[in-house]
């Protein structure tokens, strides 16, 4: 473990310039996981988190590790990390130089994106303030752990940190499901709803318990129970186009989630989002996702 990575996160959280660069790079503290999944894929993200978590556990371990072992690790890191293509400026902290490099290359999909993504993740996680610690989770001993390493996968008695609504509504299986439901409503105008599950061992999402209602409401199926590493983390529903008989009265049908939608989400501890129109004119294609209820499952 290098000395840089032994540094406590809070000691590096006072660098507003680096924080800004990290955000410019596309991954702020709250959606690092989804950003990495989009950049390097789900499996690579899980492997990366597992690797980082093991190192983080080392942070809280033996601070007097032998100098010999530390040197070996630093040497190994120097072999695995690519050379930077930006020049370090006078007086610039190494972390800032690396952040500028990452901002430059991330997202271009070149063949060195994985080590750059790893370095980028280190920068973001180096600024953890509790939110990030939640995203990694903690194992039974209180050490940081990550999806895929058996720690953040959690147990029913000791669940992991759950993805928030921003991550949920960006997950490909969820988007696919809600968009399919929206398309299906083109012909019957009925609302539809479903629950979103998340497997903490693979950081993957699935959609279960689909239900269909009327054009005015929808009663979801009973909330699915957690099972193993598969957790309920949210739900979605749709407010499709009004049926022809109601379309002349479109302004009598407000858009956005209703008070009952919000109450449902809160009482079920279930972050929700609804696909609905941007205006009561309900023009085809003029739609968006509206969040409601808690932002993350408790």
């Amino acid at each position: 473990m290098s000395r840089e990575h032994r540094q406590r996160p809070t000691e590096r959280s006072r660098d507003p310039d680096l924080d800004r660069l990290v955000k410019q790079g596309g991954a702020d503290k709250h959606d690092l996981t989804s950003y990495l999944q989009n950049t390097i894929g789900n499996a690579a993200t899980s492997r990366l988190f597992a690797k980082l978590a093991k190192e983080d556990r080392g942070l809280g371990g033996d601070e007097t590790a032998s100098a010999e072992g530390e040197e070996e690790e630093m040497e190994a890191r120097s072999r695995s990390e690519p050379a930077l293509s930006v020049s370090r400026q006078d007086g610039e902290e190494p972390a800032m130089t690396r952040a500028r490099e990452l901002h430059k290359v991330l997202g271009k999909g070149d063949d060195v994106v994985m080590p750059r993504a790893e370095a980028f993740a280190r920068e973001v996680l180096g600024h953890k303030d509790g939110e990030e610690e939640r995203s990694l989770g903690r194992d039974g001993d209180g050490n940081l752990s990550a999806p895929g390493d058996g720690g953040a996968a959690g147990t029913l008695a000791n669940p992991p940190a759950f993805p928030n609504i921003t991550t949920i509504k960006a997950a490909a299986p969820v988007v696919t499901a809600i968009e399919a439901d929206w398309t299906a409503s083109d012909s019957d105008f009925n609302e539809r709803a479903a629950w979103v599950m998340w497997d903490s061992s693979t950081s993957t999402f699935s959609v279960v318990g689909k239900a269909m209602g009327t054009w005015a409401s929808c009663t979801p199926t009973p909330k699915p129970a957690d099972s193993g590493t598969n957790y309920h983390v949210g739900h979605y529903h749709i407010h499709p186009q009004l049926p022809p008989a109601e379309q002349p009265n479109t302004k009598n049908w407000p858009i956005k989630p209703s008070g009952a939608d919000k109450s449902f989400a809160t009482s079920n501890n279930s972050p929700g989002f609804v696909k609905d129109f941007n205006t009561t004119e309900r023009k085809t294609g003029d739609t968006t996702y509206y969040d409601y209820g808690p932002s993350v499952r408790a």
Partner: protein, 70 residues
């Protein structure tokens, strides 16, 4: 179903006082009022949906406004 808790005359006075207290010029304005019932049909708590609210004119029984939440 709920019922009104003020008379039509009382409602008129409440409106007049509110407008005066808040500085609205109401001199020479002609006052009319109508009693209305707001009838709400709410979804049960296990349902994603919203209130159906109909506003009924108490004098004529006609529906004067309606909102359908989803």
């Amino acid at each position: 179903m709920t019922s009104t808790s003020v008379t039509q005359e009382e409602a008129t006075e409440i409106a007049r006082k509110w407008l005066e207290d808040n500085g609205y010029p109401i001199e020479r304005r002609i006052v009319t009022s109508s009693a209305e019932f707001r009838v709400v049909f709410s979804v049960p708590p296990d349902t994603l949906g919203g209130d159906f609210t109909l506003v009924i004119d108490a004098a004529t029984g006609s529906i004067v406004d309606r909102q359908f939440e989803r």
